[in-house]
């Protein structure tokens, strides 16, 4: 049993260096930065704020649902609460989360580049997020929106009396933030890889970013134009989707879901990338079936564009359409299954260590599997007739998006926290938070499967009394889940000042981003690394690129 022989100082911190964090200190230097790492941190701060707003909406919803008659708010306010929850969480938190924070930070590091292809456009992306969210937040402050995040017509275009156009403008501008990020990533991955970094030596996180960026580029413009048409319909009082004037409300649904279904793959594919990185590092094994896992990301992105009408099974589409889209929806589950099995198989004969990121990753696999399998139930036409628009659907997508994507996001934040900040998070509290999150999450959302099959509809402010027990369980779980989210916020901030100093590679990963000091210098690597190893070559005991420079160098 020989040691993994890279720099003997692999665990030793290197203080006193110039890093991207302390290279300049002014606010102006942060707000006008072109450094992808700083932009990633800016994103991380912004989306945390948006998450809290969305969580506020969720709190209103769950507290209101404690009693059958609905306490706390009038129906109109309740409708605004769940709309704000959906809009903030989907468009302003989940879509940017991993790509814009971890993706921005890590992508150039993982491929051995100095920065992304277009750093100024990268900064513009962040500003577009800020401008878009300003419009969205002002829509909330001026009274909110009550259409649901899905903006179905003709309610949103003709009947709603809330600030729909203002919110649409916010989402529209935010869409361009996504498009530019995706564009940047695609070009970066194609053109800026270090010498020797071939496509099949890329970390799976990069493959995941690539697939996500394809969806960013091709899907987002469609939601932009669709929502723009709704805004035009509201402003000019004409009938694009209004049946009274010859329009077709189902057309809106088709156009909306043509983006919004690939959008859910935007939300989950980056998580898949994080899980691949974490599992390989904490099991010290190569991923099982690298090529299959890599291609499965791209396959999910492509097939994901072909399944949108499974949201319209009960909207009045023809039986033939239903059958086609059901089959395609099953098809997209195949590459997903490949991933889940591959991650599990990666543990075989590995050296498994259950640090906090690994706990989040393993929790992800369990919860995502449940979410994905219930997705199969929804893809099954005969079942979807009963389950459509009930709490079963809500439970399904929260299992994949919260039990999946958010767990992966938190796991990734913990995993790369030392790389980003140079500090270690407190391991004990990390494990506690992971456990509380896992338990709170299940208590919140598992009862909703039961509620859904019993028939409780979505977006209901009040409900029949026999549903109360499950609603109370769910709200109780939500409060536990909230603790699970607040804890990391506290101890991660605490660690910035009081956390242990981290060395360049505290988890002894083989990936390129760990072969540079923590936090990295602004230019990422002292010399352009040369990649000569397959990824995750733990058995070969050789990291992907040049070794870490010694403490003497600055």
């Amino acid at each position: 049993m020989t040691a993994i022989p890279y720099s003997p100082d692999y665990a030793a911190p290197q203080t006193g260096r110039t890093t991207y964090l302390n290279a300049t200190h002014t606010i102006r230097s942060w707000l006008l930065t072109k450094d992808h790492k700083r932009i990633g941190i800016l994103y991380m701060i912004s989306i945390t704020i948006f998450f809290m707003i969305g969580a506020g909406g969720a709190a209103l919803v769950r507290i209101n649902l404690l009693t059958p008659a609905g306490i706390l708010s009038e129906p109109a306010q309740y409708n605004k609460a769940f709309t704000i929850h959906g809009v903030m969480m989907v468009f302003f938190f989940l879509v940017p989360s991993i790509p814009a924070t971890l993706g921005n930070f890590l992508l150039p590091l993982m491929i051995g580049a100095r920065d992304v292809a277009f750093p100024k456009i990268n900064l513009a992306s962040w500003y577009l997020l800020i401008i878009g969210s300003s419009f969205a937040l002002s829509a909330i402050l001026f009274g909110g929106v009550d259409t649901g995040w899905t903006f179905y017509t003709p309610y949103s275009s003709t009947f709603s009396n809330t600030h729909v156009v203002l919110m649409i403008v916010g989402i529209f501008i935010n869409g361009f933030s996504s498009i530019l990020t995706g564009l940047n990533f695609v070009v970066t991955i194609h053109k800026m890889r270090a010498p020797g970094m071939t496509w099949f030596r890329l970390p799976l996180f990069v493959w995941a970013m690539y697939a996500t960026s394809l969806i960013f580029i091709l899907g987002t413009p469609v939601i932009a134009i669709t929502l723009a048409l709704v805004a035009v319909e509201r402003l000019l009082r004409v009938g694009i989707f209004d049946p009274a004037l010859g329009g077709d409300p189902i057309l809106f649904q088709h156009m909306f879901w043509f983006y919004s279904h690939p959008a859910v793959y935007i939300m989950i594919l980056p998580s898949f990338g994080v899980i691949s990185e974490v599992i390989t590092c904490f099991a010290r094994k190569r991923i099982f079936g690298y090529v299959f896992v890599a291609f499965s990301s791209v396959a999910i992105a492509i097939i994901g564009f072909l399944v949108w009408a499974h949201h319209l099974f009960d909207a009045g589409i023809s039986v033939y359409s239903g059958l086609i889209f059901s089959l395609l929806s099953f098809l997209v589950a195949v590459p997903t299954a490949v991933k889940v099995f591959s991650w599990t198989a990666t543990l075989y004969k590995g050296s498994v260590s259950l640090e906090t990121p690994m706990l989040y990753a393993l929790g992800f696999i369990g919860l995502f599997t449940i979410g994905g399998l219930t997705g199969l139930m929804l893809a099954t036409l005969g079942l979807d007739v009963h389950l459509h628009d009930t709490y079963f659907v809500i439970a399904h997508f929260h299992y994949v998006m919260v039990g999946g994507a958010i767990m992966a996001y938190l796991g990734g934040i913990h995993f790369w926290w030392p790389k980003m900040t140079g500090k270690m998070y407190p391991e004990f509290w990390g494990k506690i938070a992971a456990a509380i999150t896992f338990l709170g999450f299940n208590l919140t959302f598992f009862p909703q499967f039961v509620l859904g099959y019993l028939g409780m509809p979505r977006r209901y402010h009040a409900y029949p009394p026999e549903f109360q027990v499950y609603n109370v369980l769910s709200t109780a779980g939500a409060s536990v889940l909230a603790v699970g989210y607040v804890l990391p916020l506290i101890y991660l901030l605490w660690s910035l000042k009081y956390g242990a100093e981290a060395g360049p590679n505290p988890f002894r990963s083989m990936s390129l981003e760990w072969q540079t000091p923590s936090p990295p210098p602004t230019e990422n690597f002292e010399r352009t690394p040369i990649c000569s190893q397959p990824p995750y070559a733990y058995d070969l005991q050789t990291p992907m690129g040049s070794p870490v420079p010694t403490a003497a160098a600055t």
């Binding site: 179905y152 909207a315 199969l376 628009d389 026999e466």
Partner: protein, 360 residues
């Protein structure tokens, strides 16, 4: 549904499609539980068995044989194909009302349900139906999209403005069941609820007779047909409506369509959309003048015109048997092929300007 019953984990099963849905659900649930236990079990087992024993441990290389990779894809896909075919078959059943189904017209509006039995009774938020008889709901909305959902029957369908959607069920147990609106429709979406009351056939008949008498829909439709001037054209310069329902109609661009409820409604709302071959675009649109209920009444009236009328007498009303509730099926049934009667005199040519004197 029993208000005092203990906590339910599973809904009551009160229609023919309910147990069929449940069987499929339990199949998928079993598969899901098995896979979750498999994956979770494997993870827990391997995390323990292969836990890191020393800091410098280097695990060996293990290959990823292609056969295992392909089985990762083929085995799940095979199971999913079973789910697809089974679910698809059930869905096709769900979407095709059986022949002989009793039809109820439904209008959803913010935030209530209006239900119209063809024999006359009109209900609000409550639907009385007999047990053991297929019931077909033809639905439209007056404003935004709603959804008529009865969880205990395991069925729902969106109710869309501007078009008709159809769902059907056959209740198997008497009782009262939840009716929910299952598509967010605005402020009082959660108040747009009601009951489906399933009764024994005799009790249902008694209820039909015992409710405040409304005239049958076809009779209301006949009155509308007169008062809105339809009788002035149809049967002379406009196509006859006798025997029209569910017949094949040849359009001016060569297409042949079936004159179902959707076609009839569209012809009233947007007549220019489908012009019958040989006739000009002179029928005005009645979109602004008729409510959805009145359109349903007119359609019921047209359905009752089973026989041809005497076209030599201008303004004649059809003769024949009394109006009766429609028993024509909606889909999956060969429509009868009664052709349209030829017009009594030549229609105006396509390019003539100037409308007819009776045009509004």
């Amino acid at each position: 549904m029993d208000m005092e019953s203990p906590l339910r984990i599973f809904p009551d099963s009160a229609a023919t499609q309910a147990w069929r849905t449940d069987v499929l659900f339990f199949f998928e649930l079993t598969i899901s539980v098995l896979f979750v236990l498999l994956i979770a079990g494997a993870i827990v087992y391997m995390a323990l068995r292969y836990r890191r024993r020393s800091e410098d441990e280097v695990p060996p290389y293990t290959p990823s044989p292609a056969i295992i990779e392909w089985s990762f894809m083929v085995v799940p896909f095979g199971i999913m194909l079973i789910m697809f075919f089974w679910g698809g078959y059930l869905y096709v059943q769900d979407r095709r009302p059986p022949p002989g189904a009793m039809q109820i017209n439904v209008i959803g509006k913010q935030w209530m349900w209006k239900l119209q039995h063809p024999e006359g009774p009109r209900e609000i938020n409550t639907l009385h139906v007999p047990v053991g008889r297929p019931v077909k709901l033809v639905m439209t909305s007056q404003d935004v999209i709603h959804d008529f959902a009865v969880p205990e029957f395991r069925m729902k369908m969106d109710v869309v403005p501007g078009t008709y959607t159809v769902e059907w069920f056959e209740a198997t147990k008497t009782g009262e069941y939840h009716l929910f609106c299952d598509q967010y429709c605005g402020e009082l979406h959660s108040r747009m609820v009601g009951r489906v009351v399933v009764m024994e056939p005799e009790a249902y008949q008694a209820w039909l007779v015992g409710t405040v008498p409304n005239e049958p829909a076809a009779v209301s439709g006949a009155r509308l047909f007169q008062s809105y001037g339809c009788a002035a054209c149809h049967g002379q310069r406009a196509p006859t409506l006798a025997g029209l329902y569910m017949s094949k109609v040849k359009l001016d661009d060569g297409r042949v369509v079936v004159a179902d409820e959707y076609y009839l409604r569209e012809s009233i709302i947007e007549p220019a959309a489908k012009l019958v071959a040989g006739y000009g675009p002179i029928m005005p649109s009645f979109r602004a003048q008729l409510t959805e209920e009145q359109i349903f009444d007119l359609i019921e009236y047209i359905k009752s015109l089973g026989l041809a009328m005497d076209t030599s007498v201008p303004g004649a009303l059809p003769t024949g048997p009394e109006t009766r509730p429609s028993t024509q099926p909606f889909n999956g049934y060969r429509p009868d092929l009664l052709p349209n009667q030829p017009p009594a005199r030549q229609p105006p040519t396509y390019n003539e300007t100037g409308g007819s004197p009776t045009r509004e």
